[in-house]
């Protein structure tokens, strides 16, 4: 029964995460390896976030930033498709468009305030770098949503309750946002900011914008004759109405 040939060769060593949290970005040689493709970017986001942060501080930022944006858009479109399977029909294309569009729109709306808060807190950062960190946050959120997609699909096939599915997607979105914001927080810790309170305020604003986006772009989970709602509502009122139904 002893057969050493049946065992494949060992996997190469895992990328190092050994750089201490407070060490300057790029202090680990592994962080200085350029990010060349989309898959490398996804793997770096999950396993070597400091590598992504370091690359985003090296000019030109454009290549990594674009890769992160492509990941964010592609992954949110796929997750949107899973969301759309709940209602089917036009929602199969409307939900992906709304989720990817809503995520990008929320980021675009919040980008100026993030830059201002960063500068006010004394961080040494350029707008392109802030945009890069924000796209990293979006990409990580969208990648995590892909991880939730199989679970969301199972539930979407076994319930007809819009409120239940909405709550589920909201919970997944908030978990993804937590990890995305954690990435941003770590990135900002390396910008020599005097205080982190500005960033904390911005995080609250970003979450509020995301939540409002779920109402401004409704319906994302249910169905409607119109692509966008005619009636303006605050997200709390919209959710209360959904729960009453």
């Amino acid at each position: 029964m002893i057969d050493q040939n049946l065992t494949p060769p060992p996997l190469p060593p895992l990328p190092s995460r050994s750089a201490p949290a407070g060490a300057p970005l790029g202090s680990d040689p592994a962080e200085q390896v350029p990010i060349t493709g989309l898959l490398t970017a996804v793997e770096a986001l999950l396993r070597q976030p400091r590598r992504v942060m370091f690359q985003l501080r090296q000019p030109p930022v454009r290549t990594v930033l674009l890769a992160l944006l492509v990941i964010a858009i592609a992954c949110s479109l796929i997750y949107g498709l899973v969301v759309g399977t709940f209602s089917g029909g036009t929602q199969l294309w409307a939900a992906p468009v709304k989720i990817a569009g809503g995520l990008l729109l929320a980021a675009l709306i919040c980008l100026p305030s993030l830059f201002i808060f960063a500068c006010l807190s004394g961080a040494e950062v350029r707008l392109s770098e802030v945009a890069g960190f924000l796209s990293g946050q979006l990409a990580l959120m969208a990648v995590l949503l892909i991880g939730f997609a199989p679970v969301a699909w199972v539930f979407s096939q076994s319930t007809e309750s819009v409120a239940a599915m909405g709550a589920l997607h909201l919970a997944f979105g908030l978990i993804a946002a937590y990890f995305g914001l954690r990435f941003l927080n770590t990135a900002f810790a390396h910008l020599n900011a005097r205080s982190g309170s500005g960033l904390k305020v911005w995080m609250v604003i970003f979450i509020l914008v995301l939540l409002q986006m779920t109402t401004a772009l409704r319906p994302i989970v249910g169905t409607s004759d119109d692509f966008l709602p005619a009636k303006k509502m605050f997200f709390v009122n919209h959710w209360a109405e959904c729960l009453k139904k």
């Binding site: 029964m1 060992p10 996997l11 990328p15 199989p150 199972v154 007809e160 239940a164």
Partner: protein, 239 residues
């Protein structure tokens, strides 16, 4: 150490149960399709036997159905959450690759399945002593409840034992106990969340005496576990 066992060597089972970290860690580091198949086979046999013993009280056909469904839930949960679990591990500080994560989870389920399989004769003995399906309605209901509670206790015991072994393995693979604990709880939450729903879809397992014998209920895909649980809780609390 790990090379002393071929992928289908049954002597791996006691090693898994004892939680011998050296060989198990080696198995996780070296991906082997044969070993994955072995763990899947262990899950199918162990959970299948337990499922069959649970369903036996209702009817032999129910035993067959439950014997198929219980391993299916475990495998579908592993598959459905593989991507998420693989992402959560590095994000929470555990530097394991996607394949290693999947293998670690599969191994913990294999441990649970072996424990479940070992309890199947006890389950059969309990059912042999319980009032049969031909008994009166109240006696049948009492037997159904007894099987339900016993099944839940056995599954809980197997789950706890398997997760303790998994935690030991994660601690070994990580520099930080806190990270290992966080990852374990994140995986547990995800697996319980999806597993409960899959179990709901694939019901019945024991087979209610008042309902016909079926592989799936006609309303299998209507409602979800949590909606039903919440409405039941509402009824209990507010009448």
């Amino acid at each position: 150490m790990e090379t002393t066992f071929a992928p289908f060597d049954l002597r791996q089972v006691p090693v898994l149960l004892r939680g011998e970290l050296e060989p198990i860690h080696g198995w996780i580091e070296r991906w082997s399709v044969g070993r994955v198949c072995f763990h899947v086979a262990v899950i199918c046999v162990g959970a299948g036997l337990f499922g069959a013993s649970v369903g036996w009280w209702r009817a032999p056909l129910q035993a067959f159905y439950t014997g198929v469904k219980l391993p299916l839930i475990i495998l579908l949960t592993t598959l459905g959450n593989a991507l998420l679990n693989g992402m959560l591990a590095p994000l929470l500080g555990l530097n394991l690759r996607f394949r290693q994560v999947s293998l670690a989870i599969l191994m913990s389920f294999a441990i649970a399945a072996v424990i479940l399989g070992a309890f199947s004769p006890l389950m059969l003995f309990l059912e042999w002593n319980a009032p049969p399906m031909s008994a009166g309605a109240s006696e049948r209901l009492a037997a159904h409840s007894l099987i339900l509670v016993t099944q839940a206790l056995v599954i809980a015991f197997a789950g706890v034992a398997a997760n303790l072994r998994l935690l030991q393995l994660l601690r070994r693979a990580s520099d930080s106990t806190a990270a290992a604990t966080k990852v374990l709880f994140a995986w547990l939450a995800g697996n319980l969340f999806l597993g409960s729903q899959l179990a709901w879809i694939l019901r019945p397992f024991i087979g209610s005496p008042a309902l016909p014998l079926q592989f799936l209920r006609p309303d299998a895909l209507q409602g979800n576990f949590y909606e039903i649980f919440l409405s039941a809780l509402k009824r209990v609390l507010f009448g």
